[in-house]
């Protein structure tokens, strides 16, 4: 009979519809997930943890000039900036830096702390010079033969 065919067909269609509904209900998108590691920009520097500038006297107010090596151990280019902590003794405001001692045969004038920065490329190292020059320092210290130390911080930041 004709109606039986239609009946079976519509029942079949109903089942197919319910079945396909359960398949399509995942909201039509495929989620792709991966765990990425080591791709983030990482700033990292390595600096000496102790620097001794030697003896500074009224007659000889300039310390020896020491060479400081800085490594960029991160995966981006960095700039390294020497800064002073707020509680540092005033004399350390007279720290001077220069990348090279001479350039094209002329003496490179050192830059005072606060205005000096040095660039370091990733996975490489650079060096610069630091000295203490108290020629313009008119203040006094609590006593002679004083061993002062200061927290000169070498701050590495992304360029």
């Amino acid at each position: 009979m004709g109606w039986e065919k239609y009946f079976l067909a519509s029942v079949g269609f109903l089942f197919i519809m319910i079945f396909s509904l359960s398949l399509v209900n995942s909201d039509d998108i495929m989620v792709v997930e991966a765990n990425f590691q080591g791709y983030a920009e990482r700033i990292s520097i390595e600096v000496p943890d102790y620097l001794y500038l030697g003896e500074v006297t009224r007659d000889n107010p300039v310390s020896e000039e020491i060479n400081i090596k800085v490594n960029d151990t991160g995966n981006i280019d960095a700039m390294v900036i020497p800064t002073l902590s707020s509680d540092s003794p005033e004399v350390f405001n007279y720290l001077y830096f220069r990348k090279y001692k001479t350039s094209n045969g002329t003496n490179v004038i050192p830059t005072r702390i606060g205005s000096f920065e040095v660039n370091v490329s990733k996975h490489s190292s650079t060096s610069f010079y630091m000295s203490l020059n108290l020629t313009d320092f008119n203040g006094t210290l609590n006593s002679d033969n004083l061993n002062l130390n200061s927290s000169v911080q070498f701050l590495g930041i992304a360029r």
Partner: protein, 184 residues
């Protein structure tokens, strides 16, 4: 005797070549937020030895890579910052930093992670874009409404097909009964 002397010289030189390495990832932190909505980010700090880390933050009025432009406190620029207390790290540690603002706009900061002695630190540039949540909220609502409409149409069509199918089945059953009665 020579070996002992060499050993002494070696240890002496070793003590002078001591260096500290400290790192932070990511180097730039760019965040988007809304007014009065706390936004947080994970930061990984690492070092080559066990040290204490102190965190400091400075803020600027303009986007710059000159640290002298960062002379303001978080309070000055209207940012509430949630930083962990000084903490000890052994090789590496993941921390969370959060920010909250009461006004929309762009905020530029520099967070430095300093070693306990303070002689080495690494800085992380911060940029926070805070939207005025009035406008985006209405947009979100519009989006949601469109979403609801889309869903409604989908379910309406499914429901309609289902009921039409049931109607068809009912009619077919009725046709079956009619043909039976005709036979009787």
């Amino acid at each position: 005797m020579k070996i002992v002397a060499f050993l002494f010289v070696f240890i002496f030189l070793l003590s002078f070549s001591s260096a500290l390495q400290i790192g932070v990832s990511p180097a730039h932190l760019t965040l988007s937020s809304e007014i009065n909505k706390k936004v947080c980010s994970k930061v990984v700090v690492d070092s080559d030895r066990q040290i204490t880390i102190n965190i400091e933050d400075k803020w600027g009025k303009i986007k710059s890579k000159n640290i002298n432009e960062y002379n303001f406190s978080a309070k000055d620029v209207g940012v509430e910052i949630f930083l962990p207390e000084p903490f000890s790290i052994d090789k590496t540690k993941e921390i969370e930093i959060c920010f909250l603002t009461k006004k929309s706009g762009k905020y530029y900061g520099l967070i430095s992670f300093n070693s306990g002695g303070g002689f080495v630190g690494v800085g992380q540039w911060i940029e926070i874009n805070v939207r005025n949540n009035f406008l985006p909220k209405s947009l979100t609502m519009t989006g949601a409404t469109i979403g609801v409409k889309k869903q409604s149409i989908k379910y309406f069509l499914i429901g309609l097909t289902f009921f039409l199918e049931l109607g068809l089945l009912y009619l077919l059953l009725k046709l079956k009964n009619k043909s039976r009665t005709k036979l009787v």
